[in-house]
Structures are given as C-alpha cells and as structure tokens.
C-alpha cells in the first residue's frame, strides 16, 4: 500500500494505482477527457494535469502511478491554469455549435467547459477546412472532423476491445487527426459497425447517421402505415436519457409514446426473437445431429456486427453462421407478408421502423438479401435508441407522465426467451430452452442455464439433453470473439453452438444505446434488467408463444419449411462487407 496526500487529504491505495484512481477513491474527481479506464491512458488531453510537490513539470493523473509520501494538488493555481488553458485550446479546434449537436447535454467537453466557467475562448477557431473535413453521408457511421478532439479513444476501443483496427492516427504535425487506418476510406474498410467507438466518444466526434428525418417523412405520408418494432435491449436502456429507473419506464410507456408520435401499430422485436429461436434451434439440431458441426460450431447470426466481423476477418468460416435471419429481419419479413395479410393492406403500404440498440442494424436492413422486388425492404428504417429518445424530446413527450399501453397483436406478444436476446448469453439460453423441449419433450427450468448468463467475457457450458451432449460457448466483444476463433482454429477448443455478440455485454451494451457521460459501462445493469423481466413472465420458452404457434399454423407450416426457408433464412455469402455502401 502507498500513502499519499491529495488536496491535504491522506489517501492510502495499492501500489501501482494512478493519481487519478487514488483521487477517485477519496472522492476527489480530477477532470479529464481522453482518459478511459482500461483502454486509454495516453495522457493526450493534458486536462488531468495536477501539481506534485518536488516535480518540475505538471504530472498527468491518468497515467502516473502514486508513490509514498507524494503530495498532490489538484486545484493549485498552476493546476487550474493548466486545466483551463488546455480545455480552451481543445475548444479552439472543436466545432462549439452545441445548439445543433446530438451530444449537447451529454458531452464531456461541454460539461468540462461549463464546469470551468469558460464563457469565452481566447483563441481563434481553427477547424479543418476543405475536403479534410469531409465524410460520407450515406454510411451508418458518421465521423465529424470538426467535433473530434483527437482523444484517440476510438482507436483504442477498436484496437483493444474489438481488435478490428479501423481507426488510426492520420498524418503528422499540426494536421494530425484520426481517420480510417491504412489510408482507406470507411466504405472500403471492414468496419463491423459495432458502434463502440461512438459510445466511447466523449463528444460528437462520432455518431450514427441520423435517420429520424426518414421516419418523420413516413409519419407525414398519408399513403403509408407506419409501424414500429422495439428491440429487447431498448426497454431497459431508453429511460436512461430521461434519468428514469427502468421499472418506472415499462414497454407500455414506449408503446404509448410511439403511438403519440404517429405510429399506427407498435410491436415487439421479441416476437421476432421467439421466431428466430424456432428456426435457429431447429436448424441447430439438424446441423448438430447430421455431424456437420464436428470441426466448427454453428455460430449465432442475430448480431449483424458479428456477421460483418466474421465475413471480414474469417470469411472461410461464413458457412458456420446460422442461416436464420436476425429477429429484426424475421420480424420484417413476417410483417410485410403475414401481418400485411392480417391487416388487409398491401405490403408496400407498411413502413416498418425498428428501434435498435445497434448501429450495424442500419446496415443489415439495407442488405440486398433483406429486400425483395415485390415487397421492398423488410425493414425500412432503423433508429438507434438514441435517435428514438431524440424524437421523444422533439415531441416533448415526457415518459414520466405517459400511461402504459398494450402492444399490438399479433406481433406484440412475446416470451421471456425473446426478452433475454438483449443480454449476452440470451440467444443461447433461449435456443437451449427450446432445444431442450425438442429433445426431451419437456420445458426446462430456465435456472439450469444460469451458468451462461453472467461471468467472464467467454463462458462455456456443456448440457446433456435427452442423451445429447451439447457444448456451448457464449462470448461478447470482438477481441474476445477473435480469441475464441483462434482457439477453435488451433484445436484448443471445440464447441457445437456458439453465441457471439459484437458488443461487450451483448445488445444491452450496443453501439446504439444511450451514452454515459461518466463513461459508465451499463451493459450489465441493462442485461440483468432483461433477466428480471424474463423471470416475471409466464411464458419463458419461445415455442410457447401462442402467436408464434398461430403463425406456423396459419402461414409457415413448421420450422424450416420451404416457406420458412424463403422468408426467415438468408444467404450470408450473397454480399460483401466492403460493397455495402
């Protein structure tokens, strides 16, 4: 242990602790911008500089370890001056038009400038000019060179968390910026669109392509019937932007809000998730019993970030992906066919919007394999949770004062199995619940699958079901996924069924979710909220969803029927990651 003094307070911390974390343990918050615990402690912004007695220069709190009897001043005149001028310098190269910024109110730079009472930047504005400031407008991921403060967090997140290395330093000298690595343009890159760079950006240097206008246009078009589906992981996260507890913001309130906005019907992607399970569990059992999974497992395919990752990094394993479409796309295909029939409207009149915790879903719904000539795109527009909450704010809809309303039938009915899709391990568990039933004829007690719910990033379990031994693994975060694939390829690991989610913690931690201004990783909390919802539900297995049963009876026949194959399965080989935009 090391004892030091911070702002006249004695603090004892383990050896190797940084000044930043030592101060935090004593409830002294040292302002910082580039620092991101576990990923980025490169001391670039110099905002966390503190004064340490007997040291010549200012010392960065984020990456300097404490030593015995160190005396630190976080608010000495020199520390104040350093912090202020460095923030002013950052502001001079930041587009400070906060009024038109998606991160206003949730921006770390804005907060720090406000906190420091900077009401006047003494340096002239220097923003990138010419084509240096240009980015594509069609790509789902948007980089704003004028807002980027070069904290390098996106580079580190993409390198360390996701191992995809999309971002890198570009150029040298005063024009050094962050751009797509190896002088590529983003459209030609193998970006997975996980969106983790966005959720870890302290400003609006990175954001999603804003598609709210497309939704407003649809809502204003009298020839269209706007309908909406809400992804599982959105329900325990959307309320954060309003400072509400998830319990105070149930699904019914979202339904009420969306209807007030003008949507004709509000549905639940959990229905699509239940449907996915019906197909995927059956697909798995078929591939498992045929011996097709002897060398490599079947991978889940609900996460489009993961699908892009696998296709981009390990194209030779593309065939191991489940051919089942994701819940969003299954929902879309059924909405534009069965639902349209039930509603008695032509498919092209339905305008389906998805509210997703995800950036890659924006690309998924644009894939050539997710649209047909006769019915057009199965999902018309994908909004992130953040875009959805921006629309709520625009309409001055206050969730506190909304009365919960039921979702629409038939595609608003779902089970607990569909709900947990939003948490890491949820797809696997939901599939196993149904596989168990298929193999044993009985519904399982979901508690037997608790081993794959929480724990380390890679969780393994072996289940014996009706004489069959199924080796499962669950992993989230793409660097972890890469390590798993490495183990599979070198024969160090063997599984039959593997669930992969691109974002750590699964969709709960998705790249389209609300951003914590305090860099809090909220995937775990949101995920356990989903498990609580599951526990409260009467129906906890997808095959028990009465509307799913009705869908098969009335329309599809049985899982993996010809019709199901046509509508609910896809060809992952039919498109290329780099040719989407």
């Amino acid at each position: 242990m090391v004892t030091l003094t911070i702002d006249n307070k004695r603090v004892t911390v383990p050896e190797g602790t940084t000044i930043m974390e030592a101060a935090r343990s004593a409830h002294i918050q040292i302002p910082h911008l580039c620092y991101l615990k576990g990923y980025n402690n490169i001391a670039a912004c110099r905002v966390c500089c503190v004064e340490v007695e007997n040291e010549n220069a200012m010392v960065t709190a984020c990456n300097s370890p404490v030593y015995e009897n160190m005396v630190v001043h976080t608010n000495s005149p020199r520390a104040r001056q350093t912090r202020r001028i460095n923030v002013e310098l950052i502001l001079s190269q930041h587009d400070c038009k906060c009024a038109t910024c998606v991160r206003s109110g949730n921006c770390q730079l804005q907060r720090i400038a406000n906190d420091l009472n900077i009401i006047n930047v003494p340096y002239p504005e220097q923003l990138p000019v010419g084509l240096r400031g240009a980015w594509t407008s069609t790509y789902p991921l948007f980089r704003d060179y004028q807002k980027c403060i070069k904290c390098m967090r996106c580079i580190q997140i993409c390198d360390k968390m996701q191992s995809v290395h999309i971002w890198d330093i570009d150029g040298t000298g005063s024009r050094t910026t962050v751009d797509v690595s190896h002088n590529r343009v983003i459209k030609d890159s193998d970006c997975t669109l996980c969106g983790q760079c966005i959720t870890h950006c302290p400003t609006a240097g990175l954001r999603e392509r804003d598609d709210t206008d497309k939704v407003y246009d649809a809502l204003a078009n009298p020839d269209l019937i706007p309908i909406v589906q809400i992804a599982p992981a959105v329900r325990t996260a959307w309320c954060e932007s309003f400072g509400l507890d998830p319990k105070a913001a149930p699904m019914g309130k979202m339904a009420a809000a969306l209807r007030r906005m003008g949507f004709a019907h509000v549905y639940d992607t959990c229905f699509g998730a239940d449907l996915t399970i019906m197909e995927e569990a059956n697909e798995f059992l078929k591939r498992f019993t045929s011996g097709e999974l002897k060398h490599f497992p079947m991978f889940t395919s609900c996460c489009p970030g993961w699908v892009r990752f696998l296709k981009g990094q390990f194209p030779e394993l593309t065939g191991q992906l489940s051919t089942s479409k994701s819940p969003q796309q299954m929902f879309g295909a059924i909405a534009k066919t069965w639902l349209a029939q039930k509603l008695g409207v032509p498919a092209e009149k339905l305008f389906l919007v998805s509210i997703m915790p995800c950036l890659a879903k924006k690309a998924e719904c644009d894939l050539p394999t997710m649209q047909t000539e006769e019915r057009g795109k199965d999902v018309d527009v994908v909004l992130t949770t953040r875009e959805f909450t921006r629309m709520l704010r625009a309409d001055r809809i206050d969730p506190v004062h909304l009365d919960a309303e039921p979702l629409d039938n038939p595609m608003g009915v779902h089970t607990g199995a569909g709900t947990i899709f939003g948490a890491t391990g949820g797809v696997m568990e939901a599939a196993l619940r149904t596989a168990y039933w298929k193999l044993t004829g009985q519904d399982p007690d979901p508690a037997i699958f608790s081993a794959i719910r929480t724990g380390p990033a890679l969780r393994e379990a072996v289940y014996n079901m009706g004489g069959a031994t199924v080796r499962c693994a669950v992993v989230s975060g793409l660097a972890n996924a890469r390590a798993l694939i490495h183990d599979l390829k070198t024969g160090r690991a063997h599984y039959d069924f593997v669930e992969v989610m691109a974002c750590p913690g699964g969709c709960s931690g998705g790249g389209g979710q609300p951003i914590s201004i305090d860099d809090e990783e909220r995937a775990g909390i949101r995920g356990s909220g989903l498990h609580q919802l599951d526990a409260q539900m009467k129906l906890r297995c997808s095959h028990r969803n009465p509307q799913i049963q009705a869908l098969y009876e009335e329309y599809l026949g049985e899982p993996m029927s010809e019709k199901a194959e046509d509508l609910l399965h896809t060809d992952h080989f039919a498109w290329n990651v780099t040719e989407c935009y």
Binding site: A43, N56, A57, P65, P128, N183
Partner: protein, 611 residues
C-alpha cells in the same frame, strides 16, 4: 560623434543565436516518418522570415509558395496546384538575387520532384503517405530495433544483468556493440531537443562491463529442421543464435580458426578487447550451435553439398577481401591491404614496423584502424592520406582525433599516383597528386580534383591500402547466386531470389557496413527462415521495465567517454577508451527522456516484447 564603434551584440541577438543552435539540434532530432510536405513547408516559412525584403521573388514569391503548399496540406488544392508550385519555385530559383531566395526555392523544387506522390496523395485523398511507424526514435533508427529506453531504465536501476538480457532479445552482441557500435540510435535521440543525445553506446558498455556472464534461455521445442550458416561473424552468429532459440538445429561453417569474423580479424584489440567478443560468442554458443571452424566453402566443402544437406542456408560471409588501388607500383613488396594486415594480427602473426615509415591510404574506419595499429606496431611515422578533406572522411570523428592524438599524421587532399620501388622491388616512396576540393557530386558530397600543383613524393617503407573491401562470391555462384556491384543479390527479407532455401545478408549483401546492421540482417534472416519452415516462433523478453520518472532531468551535459590517447602507445593494445564511472552511468541514464512512456510512446506502446 565617434567615427567607428565596437559592435556588441544586443541581448536579442544573443538569445536568437542560442535559438539558432537549438533549432539546428531540434531539426536533427526529428522523428522518422514525419510528413515531408509539412516539414518542408515549415522550412520554407523559416526561409521567408530570413528574406531581407528587397526582391520580389523572395519577398513575395516564397510567401505565395508557402500558401500554395498550405492549400495542398489543407486539401483545398488541385493537381494543377503542383504545377503552379513548380513553376513559381523555378522562377524564384532563377531570378532571386541572393541565396536566401534561390536556395529556398531550390528546396521546394527538390521536394516537388522528390516526393511528388506525397503531394498527389494529399491533394486527391487528403492523406499523407508517411506516418510514424514506431514511437521511439532510437528504437526506430536502430537497425536491430533494440529496446533502448528499456535497457537505459534498467541501467538507471542498476539492473545490469536484466539490461543485457533485454538487449539480447534483439541483439546477441551487446558487448561488441557497447564497444564498437556506430550508434545510429543517438542521431535522432529526443534528448537533443533539450541538450545533447544520451550516450546510449557508452551506457551499453557500462552495462556489459558490470553484468555477470549468463546463459541464454532454453531453446524452444526442437523442430527437426536444419540450417547451415556460412560465416561465423556477427551476422551469421545472430541468425544462428535466434534460429537455435526457435528450436532449429544450426551448423555454422567458419573458414578461419576462430569465430567472430571482422570483429576478431578486423577490429584491433584496443577498440574491442577479445574478452568482450569472446563473452558474447560464449553466450551465443550456449544456445547449442554446431560450429565447424577452419572450413572454407568452395575449398573444403562445396556449397551444393550444403544446400542439399540442410533445409535452409544463410550466407553471411562478410566482405573480407581487399580492393586494389590500380596504380603503378602497387605490386611492390610491402604494399599490403589493411584487411590482410589486421587479419594477420588477429591470427597472431604480428608484423614488426619498428622504425618503419608507413603510409596508409583511405579515409574510413578501417583506415583509422590500420593507422593506429601501425603506430602501435612501432612505426616511426604513420601518414594517412585521403583524397578529400578531413571532414569528408567516413571514419568516426573520434577515431580520427584519436589517431592524430597518437601522433599519426592525416594528410587530406592527397590522391595516390604511383608507388616508387627501390632496387629490391620494395616500396621506396608513395607519390601523390595534391587535390583541390571542388563541386558537389550527385552523391551530395564535394568532389576532389587534381590541384594545380606538382606531385609530392612521400618516402616510406610500407603502403597500407584501406580503400574498401570486396566480397568473395565465386564459391557460391555454382548454385545460382548472382551479384550486383560485387555483392550477393538478396531481398530485404534476406531471401535469395530464385533459390528456394538460400538466404543471404550482412556485408556480403550490403557491402561493408556495421556490426549492428549485420546483427539486424541476421535477425531478419532468422525470422524469415523460421517462416519459410512454416513456423511462427517468437523471441520474447518478459523483463519488467522500471516505470518512468515523472519529470525529466533539466539540461545536463552528456557524459562522453574519455580517450586516453598518447603518442606513447607503441606496443600497447590495451583499451584506448575508458568506460563510464557508476556515478557517470547513473547521471547519463537519468538523462533518457523515456520516449517509450512519454509522447507517442504512451499511445502506440513504447515496446515490442516479442518479434
């Protein structure tokens, strides 16, 4: 009113002079990989500030040029902008009244022509082709990429054994390099921005002098693959060492009785004591390498036999043959080549120069070795003759100074003309043609030419020729090895084109170079031979590097090693340079700015722990 007054500089002038010196050092300490256009733009702004303001091309033109280049950097330019820049620069170069203007424009022209593709990349894609590839300048510049800040930090903590272990991850010859490395690492040392480069080489020597002999880590699991290394010099032994560590079975063929190559048979003992060399070689051999000394490929064994017997072959034969002057009288008795003289000494066949007058021809390090050795062998006079000026000599300045301090004479601007023989056919005198230094050649160096003077006769007993070394490639040509300018043709990967399992590197490929470049070539060959076998063995180090101190030492003089050179060195082959004292080593190691931790290092990682 006084008619004249003594001019004293104003305080502004004094400060500015200091700044000029600072900026000179700073520019030389630039990190490799900077944008060439951005740098030349900055230089152009500097040039513009030097303008007196009289003439149009310089006063207006340089500023307009800078603005045009600025648009390239800002990506508001078009491809026509490059033509505009080129035309403008050409006119300024043609029409400026003085060097301030025309030299500045010439710099721009060199840039537009020299890195035009970079200009185009900036204009078309707003990107720069170059970029910082490694954050730590000394590590980047070191051909073997030794973890310099790592071992300096260990020396500061007095962990000398760990420092040596860390160096050996990338370079199995820390002892040799501590004594004779040309230390390119110091050129870009960021400490030069503060005061002067850290004495990296001196610190390495201190570490080796204060560390215990050790054995290498255990070799990785045996692969059953066999490699023949031809040449037991630093390059061959480096490859042999790492290949053995990777688990391959290595056999070294060395034509001389002992290992070490030029280190043993070329570098005199007063620069590199044999104990130091032996210690490094002993360490290398702990990896379990099969050594055949006294085996000459081409004489004792055929290369075709080796090629068929081993899975891969690394040719690292160095450059051990001499080059001829090509002047009349060169066939005289007592005309010797420096390499053969030094080799004889290495083999304990020591010539006696007592009372003899020696002329040495050449200006490189080998020439200095021959000069200083001749003095030690008792010569009554040693004159080193060089075609160009002393400042053009390629030998290290400290070697030249030491030679002079030891009483040898350096005669610059003397081109050998012919050698006069006496009746017995022995050397009687060396005739030279005095030179005048002239215009710059395409290599960027001023060229000498014959001066308008009479030839000079320098009476002497021996002429030692040190004008370069040649490579004996003949024995290798039977398997299809080809040469280019006398050196073996091989790729940067050390693969020999067209030959499947043959690799080559070091002096034999690059021409005579330095120890550290031979080591680097050996390292490259080891990695690529391993890959050629289909493996990806890693050489790694798990030594924990001490954390950086928060704030660096304020400006502080660099500790230079002390040469004890006197004309009384006859017969004295003991070390001519003293190492640092512990006090000096501690102070010098504290001067390291820890670029592995501060600056770009903290972002991109200051170290590779394996290769």
């Amino acid at each position: 009113m006084t008619r004249l007054s003594i001019e004293t500089p104003t305080s502004a002038e004094v400060v500015l002079r200091g700044l000029y010196r600072d900026i000179e050092r700073r520019i030389s300490a630039s990190s490799p990989g900077l944008c060439p256009i951005d740098m030349s733009l900055s230089f152009l702004r500097l040039c513009h500030a030097q303008t007196c303001g009289k003439c149009v091309p310089c006063r207006i033109g340089l500023g307009q040029l800078a603005d045009l280049i600025e648009t390239v950097m800002n990506r508001t330019a078009t491809l026509e902008t490059i033509d505009r820049i080129e035309r403008t620069a050409r006119v300024i170069a043609d029409s400026a009244d003085c060097a301030i203007g025309y030299e500045a424009a010439a710099m721009v022209l060199r840039g537009v022509r020299g890195f035009r593709d970079d200009y185009e990349e900036h204009i078309l894609r707003g990107r720069c082709i170059t970029g910082l590839t490694h954050p730590v300048p000394c590590v980047t510049v070191c051909p073997a990429h030794v973890d310099v800040p790592g071992y300096i930090a260990l020396i500061r903590e007095k962990r000398y054994d760990d420092a040596i272990r860390l160096i050996r991850k990338d370079n199995p010859f820390p002892g040799v390099c501590g004594y004779v490395c040309e230390h390119p690492c110091e050129i870009h040392c960021r400490r030069r921005m503060v005061d002067d480069a850290v004495n990296i080489c001196g610190l390495k020597r201190f570490a080796i002098d204060h560390s215990k002999p050790m054995a290498c880590p255990p070799n990785q699991e045996s692969t059953g693959r066999t490699v023949a290394v031809i040449g037991g010099g630093p390059g061959g032994l480096t490859a042999a060492f790492y290949l053995a560590q990777m688990g391959h079975s290595v056999t070294v063929f060395e034509q001389r009785p002992q290992l070490g190559g030029m280190l043993r048979y070329g570098i005199p003992d007063y620069r590199l004591p044999p104990e130091v060399l032996n210690r490094d070689i002993d360490y290398v051999l702990t990896a379990g390498i099969d050594v055949h000394t006294g085996v000459s490929v081409g004489k004792d064994i055929d290369i075709r036999e080796i090629q068929s017997e081993f899975d891969a072959v690394y040719i690292a034969i160095g450059a051990h043959s001499d080059k001829k002057l090509g002047i009349a009288g060169e066939d005289a008795k007592n005309v010797v080549s420096a390499v053969s003289m030094l080799r004889a000494i290495g083999e304990n066949r020591i010539p006696d120069f007592t009372g003899k007058r020696i002329c040495v021809i050449g200006g490189g390090n080998v020439s200095m070795d021959a000069t200083r050795t001749a003095k030690r062998l008792g010569a009554s006079s040693v004159i080193c003759l060089y075609r160009r000026r002393i400042e053009d000599m390629t030998a290290l300045p400290e070697e030249i100074n030491a030679a002079m301090a030891e009483g040898c004479e350096i005669q610059p601007l003397q081109a050998p003309d012919h050698i006069e023989k006496d009746a017995e056919g022995k050397v009687a005198a060396l005739w030279t043609r005095p030179q005048i230094i002239g215009k710059y050649g395409s290599d960027g160096r001023p060229r000498p030419k014959d001066a308008d003077c009479e030839p000079v006769r320098i009476p002497c007993d021996y002429v030692i020729v040190a004008i370069g070394q040649a490579i004996v490639t003949k024995p290798f040509e039977s398997i299809g090895i080809t040469t280019c300018r006398g050196a073996i043709k091989a790729e940067n990967s050390s693969a020999v084109p067209g030959l499947d399992n043959i690799f080559a590197g070091g002096d034999a490929v690059s021409g005579p170079a330095t120890v550290i470049r031979a080591v680097a070539a050996g390292k490259v060959a080891a990695a690529n031979i391993d890959a050629f076998f289909g493996f990806n063995h890693k050489i790694s180090s798990s030594i924990e590097i001490p954390p950086a101190h928060f704030t660096s030492m304020p400006p502080c003089g660099r500790v230079n090693l002390k040469f004890h050179t006197t004309p009384d060195c006859v017969g004295d082959f003991t070390l001519a340079v003293d190492g640092m004292t512990p006090e000096e080593a501690h102070q010098e190691s504290s001067r390291c700015l820890r670029c592995d931790h501060f600056g770009f290092g903290s972002f991109k990682g200051g170290r590779e722990t394996e290769w």
